[in-house]
Subunit: 185 residues, 2 copies
């Protein structure tokens, strides 16, 4: 028998995300997570003393970090930079739709604030004043979260006239960007 890999906080959270992505948030239980890691559920508490609460907090943070890793940079126009930032964030939220309700619940209050600061930074570099950048960043983040929620729910709904969500996203984003521009003048 090859000796099992040792349990770590990161391995636990990645396994949890895998369960959430594959089976949904409702099927993430400590016992099932233990099974996936080939360990008794109680072993998890050694690495996450606050138990499931800490696990869910960790999921939210982990998804935020994934975005920091993949976010594209370097476009010339600030609008292009915002566009690619927003598209990457949208893809992340839709890919990990199971964590969306966690973002909305009271866990890990700081995570969303961090993301908002990250958008504000892009806007500040683009020439927005400090306070306008923060306000616009919150506007954009609110839209991105809400749109992901709408899109995920809308995609599983069979309507007579199906929605083109890619197009919807682009259109909404243009509305936001031109509105932000107007607010600057």
């Amino acid at each position: 028998m090859s000796p099992r890999e040792p349990l770590t906080r990161d391995r636990i959270i990645e396994a949890a995300l895998h369960i959430v992505d594959g089976q949904g948030l409702g099927r993430l239980t400590m016992r099932r997570l233990g099974d996936a890691l080939e360990v008794e559920a109680m072993a998890i508490y050694h690495h996450l003393p606050r138990g499931k609460e800490e696990l869910l907090d960790g999921l939210v943070t982990h998804v935020g970090v994934l975005h920091a890793d993949t976010r594209p940079l370097g476009a010339d126009d600030w609008r292009d930079r915002i566009r690619s930032w927003a598209e990457a964030y949208r893809a992340l939220l839709v890919d990990h739709a199971g964590v969306l309700p966690l973002l909305v619940t009271r866990r890990n209050p700081a995570a969303l604030a961090t993301t908002a600061r990250s958008i504000a930074e892009v806007l500040r570099l683009a020439g927005f004043l400090e306070s306008a950048a923060h306000s616009a960043a919150r506007t954009l983040l609110a839209f991105l979260i809400g749109h992901a929620a709408l899109e995920v729910r809308g995609r599983e709904l069979a309507t007579p006239e199906p929605v083109d969500w890619d197009r919807q996203f682009e259109e909404s984003l243009e509305v936001l960007l031109s509105g932000m521009l107007t607010a600057l003048l």
Copy 2:
């Protein structure tokens, strides 16, 4: 002893909303709900055969109906009409913040679609073309849901520079409205 009021679907869902508003979604259990109604938990299944699933669906629908009842009407300018619609919806979501995660999860897929249609109707009456009205309605609804999530989470976060959420909401809404106007030209 006065004979107990008979159990009805509506009484059950109202009691459930009361628990969610007062103690949070996590404390809504069938047994606690039974206690609040002075009935055994199992009695609830007679009125909601699909059990807790149906109860949570009912909560989402019920909050949507609350909005239909309270929504203000009759302003002259379409922007004013959208503004008051949006403000009422925002107040509703923040007042019943506990149901927000339910809106985002896979239950009751039709509820959000109904709300989107209701916004689209306001826009259509304001002179938007059919397809533009639906697109803009989804943009607005996405923003409203996301903003409620951000606001609820942000309010419980003690930051050095606290956010004025009323002002943030107004500013964001103006960005959206002027962006929607630009898209029409």
